[in-house]
């Protein structure tokens, strides 16, 4: 089995996630923004990933991930998200603190480690941000998810993810009392500005603007 370096793993994960988001080929600039490296470095890496046949690379025309590449990317994502669950559930990290540390942990090479960790965590299907954790074979079970602003009045659900997971936004949510896992009910939608009133865990009502509501995904 061919091996990828840490850097290659990171690029491949970024490429996978960018292509999932947009469903199109991914540009060098997009990748360089995501990876915080220069476009020149990206070009070089794309050449290498192309040689390893985890991406299809046509110079100047962006990149498509191959089936083989997806397998690698999903393995990395699986590791990252399992570590995130560990950090939040076992070590009491806050949502917005896990990314950096999980990015290091995900590169530890040990199949057995990941199997045991998965088992230890009770085979979680979703990470603390509500994103699905691929299984050993790369299969992802996704649940139907809607942004709050698309839920009908009196509709209920559970917060499972946020689109914008910036530290600032996550802190805002904590502050107003919303959190991943919270059960919510939509009480009112204001016509003229789209702002919304929701009930959290049957005990607290909070208002949010349409923009905020659009950022919060709920499993209905």
């Amino acid at each position: 089995m061919m091996q990828l370096t840490h850097a290659e793993e990171n690029y491949l994960k970024a490429i996978y996630q960018l292509s999932e988001a947009g469903k199109k080929g991914v540009s060098t600039n997009d990748i360089s923004a995501e990876m915080k490296t220069k476009p020149a470095s990206v070009s070089d890496m794309l050449r290498k990933l192309g040689e390893k046949e985890v991406i299809e690379y046509r110079k100047y025309y962006g990149v498509h991930i191959t089936e083989e590449g997806k397998k690698f990317a999903l393995r990395t994502i699986r590791k990252q998200r399992l570590w995130e669950v560990f950090l939040v559930e076992k070590l009491r990290f806050a949502w917005d603190e896990v990314a950096e540390v999980a990015d290091e942990l995900e590169h530890v090479q040990s199949t057995i480690l990941i199997q045991r960790l998965d088992e230890y965590l009770g085979f979680p299907k979703f990470d603390p941000h509500g994103d699905p954790i691929p299984d050993e074979y790369g299969d992802v079970r996704s649940r139907p998810r809607l942004p709050i602003n698309e839920i009908d009045i009196n509709g209920t659900g559970q917060i499972v993810a946020v689109k914008d997971s910036s530290a600032a936004f996550l802190r805002y949510l904590d502050k107003v009392g919303a959190y991943i896992g919270a059960r919510i009910k939509v009480l009112e939608k204001v016509e003229f500005d789209g702002s919304i009133e929701i009930l959290v865990d049957n005990k607290k009502t909070i208002f949010m603007s349409k923009d905020v509501a659009a950022n919060i995904l709920v499993m209905v």
Copy 2:
């Protein structure tokens, strides 16, 4: 605070442990054997570690670790041993499976991660091999430890470490029913060959040769 690379951290740890073992300066060849690299690579690394003042390096005359260097080495050892505890106690790894994985985990950079892990594990003072875990300040509390063959007849204690931690030896111990943490009592010492009979956990007696006994450390 000056930073060390992963490779530098590994070399420094090796140098610290070699100098603790022998209490003398450490030779280039010793280090290259320990690190499984060539002496030429070691020389180069020593020059770098010398520049960073974590070791005192006189060409051709071996190496002494500085106080600053000890701090770094102890931090790395602390991380390594905490991860070993995690792997064995939480993920049910066997003694002889932890080294490789812990060597990767120990390089994850996050002070808070180590603090939380320490707390989560209940502030363990010894790793699964019985070696002491330095605290945040690098202090090590060591316990008096004796090899089994130096314990008097009817003396009791608890197995806390092994000198030879090769996979083969660890498997042998598991097989005969001895393990780290086991409470033992010395029942008999055979005069002419020094072999020893011990009682494990008050329920099982096992025989071992003098050589095996000398390899097992007991806290009395």
